[in-house]
Symmetry: none
Subunit: 124 residues, 4 copies
């Protein structure tokens, strides 16, 4: 049995950068901080950063320009694709978790709808 939520750090970094792109904290064409700077900011090893960036490059989310740095792709479709991907990932997670609690599909939708309704009331 494993408890420690130890998703590999490089995956966490990947997701983190994806989120920054979706939420427009990183814009298409924008230059990322240098690998060394990211390593310092996130207090992880340079190799860990490299692994995350190379994976993002494979997915054509980043483009590497030798001697210049890493840049967010200009391809605007990517943002849309990323958003879909992250949403799907969250939905998958909650779905699995609630299924494990033995909720039916209908109950899941019902619970979420009610949850959001209550959230709305709180604000008013």
């Amino acid at each position: 049995m494993k408890f420690l939520e130890d998703r590999p750090i490089y995956k966490q970094i990947e997701e983190h950068i994806k989120r920054q792109i979706v939420t427009k904290n990183l814009l298409p064409g924008e230059k990322l901080p240098s690998v060394r700077q990211l390593a310092i900011d996130l207090t992880v090893n340079v190799n860990t950063i490299q692994r995350a960036l190379s994976s993002l490059t494979d997915e054509e989310i980043l483009e590497t320009k030798r001697g210049l740095g890493n840049f967010v792709t200009e391809d605007s479709a990517v943002v849309h694709r990323l958003k879909e991907e992250l949403i799907h990932q969250e939905l998958e997670r909650v779905y699995v978790q609630l299924k494990a609690l033995e909720l039916t599909d209908d109950e899941i939708i019902m619970n979420l709808t009610q949850f959001i309704a209550e959230k709305g009331e709180e604000k008013s």
Copy 2:
């Protein structure tokens, strides 16, 4: 910025046990493994187990009988309470995450509904 998803171990253990009760892997009245055994199984210190169990005891989810062990409460209402609690926790999580991706309340519900619909098709 924090990357490591390091919810304290004792809280992870608490939730794990709660899940086991809700999913009936642990039945009302059932004896838990000894604290020392759990410490070995989960490769954490005995005190960390104690902290989790003591918290569950305060919540009246477990009863401890000195010299005998820890037991799941017989109070069946607790199972229902726990289920509500865990569901709410998952909904809160997904809600926050999707809000961070700048979805509106309606979009969240829509996306989930569609997600589940697609899941249903897969099986058929």
Copy 3:
């Protein structure tokens, strides 16, 4: 048979702080001494203090602000709740003790009433 009245130290600390709040030696919003200072004052280990404070935090009697300290909750209803709790605890104790001396309910009330009457005479 047990002789030493050794309620766990952390529970004694919990009750001590509760009393200080009820008797307004600690006011709502007031900052407690640091855990390390309390440990020195009460000549116990830091962890023992932590355990007491963490329990009080769970009961929403204290609020902790990381890096700042522990504070008595602003929620004034808590003081009332605490007072009720401490009174009940004392009544329970005396009731059990006098029952052990084989007094009836009526005798207990009668004795207390007379005791207080005599107290009053002393002053006059």
Copy 4:
């Protein structure tokens, strides 16, 4: 500030024996276990036992017969006196504690009366 409820052990032993007499676990004229036996039973030093017994002898609650042992006095009035003493002690304690919580005399009586009334309901 002191926390540890460290009433001297010999006082605790004194009270313990007094309670046993009042509750008739020790009858007038009955022989107590030997000092050495009591020391073993209560896991305390023989001198501690001696101190407690000698104090009880001074109060004419016990009689020492050299070479035979310690005996509960035959004086039946003693039982009554002891009971009064123990009751008074408990009342004094609860009175002081509730006064510290800033209850008036009337409130103390009222709270106790209600407390006992609720106790009665529980049983029915």
